[in-house]
């Protein structure tokens, strides 16, 4: 069956066209003006029994409203031979002789248009969104190919091992993280990438990623060999040259960069201004980091916002870096009920109040020189005001002179997916070493205390509880963790990824096994991937 309605609909359209339907839709079903709303309110009741909640229908042929459940509209139809009636809540068309609702493509089109007008009028956030539907051709394809793979909570579809091509575990972990980034997965599985350059499809990393996603969701259980991916990344990111074990973080940034470049096509459109790019990579990973430099003399603040794809967090003074892992209570994933549990709030208010006192010395409250033990500690360190010192004076445009100043980093805009990089590898000219301190990280993360609106260099304290509605936008959930095992010289990368909302899996090159949340949260953590819990339409 298709959207061809029934013979009665066809007959009606022939004699009266589609205008009556449109009128009913616009005036009563999807009201798009104050007038219409008022009219609907007043007139929207059954002509027979005056009730309004009995599945009221409007006769398509004449001005008559009747209940369905009471049979009034059916009676009317039979007596007047007006066969068609429209449900006034949903806009569906009932054919009395056929005894059921029928669907006509022209009517549907009109319904959609009116619904769009209505949602615009109401200022609804979801405008014109309609779920995907298979077309006739696609239905035919589906009919001829009856095997289906449903990605359910207990299926392995979406998981696949990756063979180690020779010290390429760093790449495998990043690929696992990317293939389990929900938004990226949706983008690639819905075939949203249209390669600009016909000739260089083999050379396009985004096309290759599409293929990788296809491989992951194919249901094939044998390991995948990502040799083409490696070749493409090395082709386009030559600075990654070399077979030696590389840094997973470096690879992540390079991969994002190449994907970002290829997303914009091979037209040579350089788009060095990242603010103007709207490719999927930017949409998902790009955030804005605000840097406020406060002149100590005039208290003037100079602000810049730079885009970022990841946040590299310092782990504190290296002297205490080799301490044994401290036992830290595991944070069990629970939905954030209220902010009294948020220890960040207390931290931030003390810091802002201390700033308010006009300290000109080291701005950060005591305790920040200690080794951080949690991701929140690291983020606090990252966003604390830093006194730049007398040797690093900045020219103040207000004072027209070089002044001592403090600098503070905060998040202006948060990306949909936030990647935190714990700087565990120290590379100085004299030595290289790995910092293995245990840093605890939560399953659910609230980024509100680190937002620009929340923290200010000059100490305007925003109470964390003041604006509950906006903070719901800053809630993040962990979905991937990349870990490094061993030492700098001989190390191995593995990762944990989350699927189906609450199932975790450990990916060790070709070996994929089930893991528990406990395992994940107790792991060392090198790269932490979080995604926003609630997405808003723009």
């Amino acid at each position: 069956m298709s959207l061809s309605g029934c013979p009665h609909v066809a007959a009606f359209k022939k004699s009266k066209g589609t205008k009556p339907f449109r009128i009913i839709q616009a005036f009563f079903v999807s009201c798009s003006s104050v007038e219409n709303v008022k009219r609907k309110a007043r007139a929207g009741s059954c002509h027979v029994c005056q009730q309004c909640n009995q599945r009221l229908h409007a006769c398509l042929t004449c001005v008559f409203f009747g209940c369905y459940t009471m049979g009034h509209i059916q009676d009317h139809a039979r007596s007047t031979k007006h066969n068609l009636a429209v449900d006034m809540t949903h806009g569906t068309v009932f054919c009395v002789p056929c005894g059921d609702y029928v669907y006509d493509s022209e009517f549907e089109q009109i319904s959609q248009e009116e619904r769009l007008n209505c949602s615009k009028f109401h200022g609804s956030s979801v405008q014109g969104f309609s779920a995907w539907e298979a077309t006739g051709y696609e239905i035919e394809l589906l009919r001829r190919n009856p095997t289906r793979k449903k990605v359910s909570g207990s299926s392995t579809i979406g998981l696949r091992g990756l063979i180690n091509l020779g010290n390429t575990c760093f790449m495998n972990c990043i690929v696992q993280a990317l293939t389990h980034t929900p938004l990226l997965r949706d983008f690639f599985l819905s075939d949203k990438h249209h390669c600009e350059n016909e000739r260089s499809r083999d050379n396009c990393l985004v096309c290759e990623m599409t293929r990788v996603f296809q491989e992951f969701y194919s249901g094939i259980r044998s390991v995948h060999i990502p040799y083409r991916l490696l070749h493409l990344v090395w082709t386009h990111a030559r600075h990654l040259a070399g077979y030696e074990q590389q840094d997973a973080h470096e690879f992540f940034i390079a991969a994002l960069d190449v994907l970002h470049r290829h997303c914009k096509g091979h037209n040579g459109a350089s788009g060095n201004n990242p603010n103007h790019c709207n490719c999927i990579i930017d949409q998902i990973f790009t955030g804005g980091l605000q840097s406020d430099v406060t002149c100590q003399a005039c208290k003037g603040i100079s602000t810049t916002v730079d885009p970022f794809w990841d946040i590299s967090l310092d782990l504190g003074p290296s002297s205490s870096s080799n301490s044994a892992p401290l036992p830290v209570p595991i944070i069990v994933p629970t939905p954030l009920p209220d902010f009294s549990l948020d220890s960040n709030s207390s931290g931030s208010s003390t810091s802002s109040s201390s700033l308010h006192n006009g300290d000109s010395g080291l701005m950060s409250p005591p305790g920040f020189d200690d080794v951080p033990h949690s991701l929140d500690d690291c983020l606090r360190r990252f966003t604390r005001p830093e006194y730049l010192g007398s040797s690093a004076k900045i020219k103040c445009s207000v004072c027209q002179n070089y002044q001592e100043s403090t600098k503070q980093l905060t998040m202006k805009t948060l990306p949909l997916v936030a990647c935190f990089h714990l700087k565990r590898f120290e590379h100085s000219s004299r030595f290289r070493k790995k910092i293995s301190t245990f840093i605890s990280f939560p399953h659910e993360l609230d980024m509100t205390p680190y937002m620009s609106t929340h923290r200010r260099a000059n100490g305007l304290s925003h109470h964390p509880r003041s604006n509950r509605t906006t903070t719901s936008d800053n809630q993040y959930s962990l979905f991937a963790v990349v870990n490094h095992h061993g030492s700098l010289e001989a190390g191995h990368y593995t990762c944990y990824v989350r699927q189906h909302q609450d199932q975790w899996f450990k990916c060790d090159d070709a070996l994929i096994t089930k893991a528990s949340v406990h395992d994940v949260l107790q792991s060392e953590g090198y790269l932490l991937f979080y995604h926003k819990r609630i997405l808003e339409y723009e």
Partner: protein, 108 residues
């Protein structure tokens, strides 16, 4: 006396019906009905009510057959299930809002 009381009762019923109609009118006029519907729609999708109910619908479709199933078949079986499966918090929140609206209206 009895009859008067009965009549009073009947009057009240009519008054109730009239009140219902006028409340309904107010709901539509002020746009509150649309807002409530939107809120409810989102909450139900989030809580998985829609998916759960969808499964039941498919069950009905299977039983009645693809060719013959009508909307009424579905409505008859699914409506009670729909009321049942609503999570308590959702119902509570909606009722709260409705009552707030009613209170607002009676103050006017």
């Amino acid at each position: 006396m009895q009859t008067t009381i009965m009549a009073d009762y009947g009057d009240r019923k009519i008054k109730d019906a009239q009140m219902r109609a006028s409340i309904n009118q107010k709901l539509v006029e002020t746009g509150e009905k649309e807002r409530l519907k939107e809120l409810l729609r989102n909450k139900l999708i989030e809580s998985g009510w829609r998916d759960e109910l969808k499964a039941h619908c498919k069950e009905v479709v299977r039983r009645k057959g693809l060719e013959h199933v009508t909307v009424d078949d579905l409505v008859a079986e699914i409506t009670p299930k729909g009321r049942e499966l609503v999570p308590d918090e959702v119902k509570r929140e909606l009722l709260h809002r409705i009552r707030a609206f009613l209170a607002q209206q009676s103050n006017i």
